[in-house]
Point group: D3
Chain length 224, copies 6
């Protein structure tokens, strides 16, 4: 029972993707109705990276990284590899050689619900990874999986071509056909936050800015 590689994947517009990267994970997540956050066990292997890109999805067996080689051929400039093992695994699927290859194809980074290794090299190369674990434990190349099929990664359903946004706060997925709307909403939020930040910095309270006192009293909050 073999796997499948889906080759023609539509991507979102590069300008929209760039806008989402700039807005950042927390804002994008709020802008689409508090949806799409991948589980917080996916952490960056080095701090400071903030990227967005189109998902090249990978479904791989536990402890088998063969499909990463297959997926790298499917990368277009600006893509992000997103790997979900078919059962929980912390093995180190990805290291400096695969990163070298992925970067040569224009890959922006990797999101992997498993392990990664050679992290000092990856940091020096500037290749960002969000992973569940750092592990030197190697993998085999024996069993096929699939590329660009729908996967669940970090508890979120992801399709090839969906937009992945990742920064120090974690990872969020935006449906490809909602990306423009989400970006617009995110930019509105950012503008609105600017004004609030100034008032809060001046010592004004959220209780007053957001007019919460009446609603709190109505819910029964008592001051003693």
């Amino acid at each position: 029972m073999g796997g499948v590689v889906i080759q023609n994947v539509e991507r979102a517009d590069a300008t929209i993707i760039a806008g989402l990267a700039k807005a950042g994970v927390a804002t994008v997540h709020e802008a689409q109705g508090r949806r799409g956050c991948l589980a917080p066990h996916l952490r960056p292997i080095w701090p400071g990276a903030a990227i967005a890109g189109s998902a090249v999805t990978i479904s791989a067996p536990p402890g088998d990284n063969w499909m990463l080689h297959v997926a790298i051929e499917q990368i277009q400039a600006g893509d992000i590899l997103v790997l979900a093992p078919t059962s929980p695994c912390t093995d180190g699927y990805f290291g400096d050689l695969l990163a070298t290859s992925a970067m040569a194809r224009g890959c922006m980074g990797l999101v992997i619900d498993a392990g990664v290794r050679d992290i000092r090299d990856l940091r020096e190369m500037g290749f960002p990874v969000w992973s569940k674990a750092v592990s030197a434990q190697g993998t085999v190349k024996e069993t096929v999986g699939s590329v660009n099929v729908p996967i669940v990664c970090g508890g979120q359903a992801i399709e090839a071509g969906d937009v992945i946004v990742a920064d120090d706060d974690g990872v969020v997925v935006v449906r490809r056909d909602e990306a423009a709307t989400v970006l617009a909403s995110a930019q509105s939020r950012l503008a609105a936050e600017e004004a609030k930040r100034a008032r809060l910095a001046a010592g004004e309270l959220g209780l007053d800015i957001y007019d919460m006192r009446g609603k709190l009293a109505q819910k029964g909050l008592r001051y003693v």
Copy 2:
């Protein structure tokens, strides 16, 4: 069944608090009889911060950060927000806007047995947080909780006005009325350690400095 906000909370003396911050978490914990350490899953979102302050406690529902707005009004300069959800949660209750507001009130930092977000901003603002998770997953403002009631955070019972000490080793709580005694004991320990450090650095063994050989033999330790 509404929540409650307790407004008049006694704090420990600022000089004592400053002394505890300087002594650090590990020493303070030992000085009070190896008590008071919060669970080690509470980790700093950036390294190097070392603070102490009076606890403003928050009991909040899972996925609901409304009470943070309420708590910020109760902050006095030098306080630390300490939030425990009423059931386990990793959502991002707190980000840069709330930090801006808290800092404007003189808040020293946040200890939260849940998630936090906008961590790059918080690092740049110099606002320290000890949390269970980093998560962009947003929260709602629908259900009231309580402020300055006794809580359990990281496995320790904490009352409003207790002294919280936090650094790279984690977080420890000191009862308000024991703070002076604990500080004195901590300072004695630090002085005693200075002498021991010099001897150990010179190659002397703990086995000899602490006179352990006889007791080890008595307990049956054999050298082969």
Copy 3:
């Protein structure tokens, strides 16, 4: 029922150990047939250290660090302390005083399937630790354990004198009598990787370099 300290432990050759440190954890692990990696919950308390040394093993009761004092006397220059508690524990067994003492004896670092504290001091002293937790929670000195007996640490069986290699990717153990063979194999791998890295950086695909296309087709991988 007392413990035991085994005093005469054979070590591997220092040149071999240095070679293994240079090869790094991931390569050494591959070079010995994907064996020997300690569990990925053992993480460095500060990034960048890359060491190798001979294991001084410690079997210690939960929450009792007495045997660390005993073990430090057994250290020879270039050794690494490796501690496994007899049941799972996150307490802070080790801090700056013990590190001062261990460094004075020529210790290279600590691998501990439990907690460590004073991590800011350890970072400043340049003493590397791979641990399961950071915790200020103190320990007692009441119950004896053993030194240089076989232990299981991070899921790997380790004997005194085995070579421990540790870097940002984690920790791997190499049997003392296999160290020379593993080093040779690791060096071959590194040489082979150099050539592949250049080809991958030039955009050539792993699929072609490793001649995978036929085997993938044979396993049923379909492109659609």
Copy 4:
């Protein structure tokens, strides 16, 4: 930003569903290419139940069970409630009153990636539940979620109307439009297993029945 209830959901044929229940989770999972198993942390609250039914999906906030009341109205005889919280939660969303209501509507059981309570009552009522936790911790009814939208539960993407099969081995999801094919494949497997079971019980080895010796030798397995 309110939730949504999708009311017209297509179900699979009742005969097919009954066949899948009889085949059981492990066989169904194999029959569809080792896909669809929910995470093993979803365990039955009492042993022996073996059901299948059409999914009524629920996306609910952490600690808020309001949508269960909404979902129960959408139940048709033979359905299974499947609840995924929008962030990890162990609270007890469901107990004997909701079970009474669900059973009155013909509900077969509940799969919930969170907690359940009143489990003694549920066992006595014969209402089966697969949950992540047993917890008496109550929930609120403050925030709306959605019913019959696509969810991710136990790491699997599930749509309303998909077939859920659950027994002592856990839970598996079958796409509605694949249910007939999967059933046919499952029934073939069961027939084939019968013959193999007899041979294995007679002492014949899998190595011979499946003709593995040559392939093992080819992969390098050595007998010493």
Copy 5:
């Protein structure tokens, strides 16, 4: 630094305690405002027990069960032992000999945020335990702890003499001086539930019984 045993502990009235046992954990927890549930990792070692009693609290070092012997002397008929280790531990602190001794003193059961062993014997003796783990791993008797001091167990602050209620749903604590009020509230809830159960069993919906439709619409819930 020795421990302490507090000998004179006030208990709640036996009739109230019996009433709370009958109401059960989930109802008692709701009756006191959704407070007091111990963490759901505390599970019964055999199903069906449903008890309540006054807490004899124990603070014990990790891997050291000495204080259980001390605590047993403090037991009065109807008491429940409640043990919290000073740092996380899964060792088997308690087995059939201690249970024999505790039962001889009138002990109702044990709640322990650690491990227990001899569970087949305990089941046959009818001695109920709620624990974090089952583990044969033994403990020592080297370090003193304290009895009847305030502890945190399963994430709840518990004082000696507080009422512990435990059944298949887990464990809840009721403050001694609130026990009568909580019982009254629990009994009201049970009465109210009876009527609702009948209506739900007859097919009436919670949406109608609790008059939720308007409020749901107001929060934005849409039916499509």
Copy 6:
């Protein structure tokens, strides 16, 4: 790099093994100096089994159960299969067909630091398993491992031919060459416990039976 099957494995004497089974896990563990307990996450899939046997060890890749077929050929009557994956895995390696085959060869049971499935069948067949998980998730047969090599399972180093004892309390390993001594010690403990049990049941305190009061006072325990 292929695996290896070691064929000539010495076993302990059957009478000794039977004696260890009767003594039970907790007593055997104490009798050998509180050593040898496997981690408590290894739980029986049905209660009441109490077995001992000689270990046939299996080192298997994650998600690959091929070596179980190889191992079954190595079984002698009275053996226990002990499987450790080379990296953490919860997949269901073993079900009713393999159990049928293993039972036909005289296998007593399975200890597996991974998942198992068909647990209702296994219960009905009376085949006992101690596992980390129950999971229907299937495995492949692509990569070779090894049989009867030293492994680490549940945190304990185990060699082929070591004696495994398992019951409701978990699993313990006894070195083959220590089995007779451990049995003798276990039987002494059981005899001594009988007398103590009678005294404890009569209400005598462990404090007095074990003469603990003086030592407790010396360690600083105070009664108030």
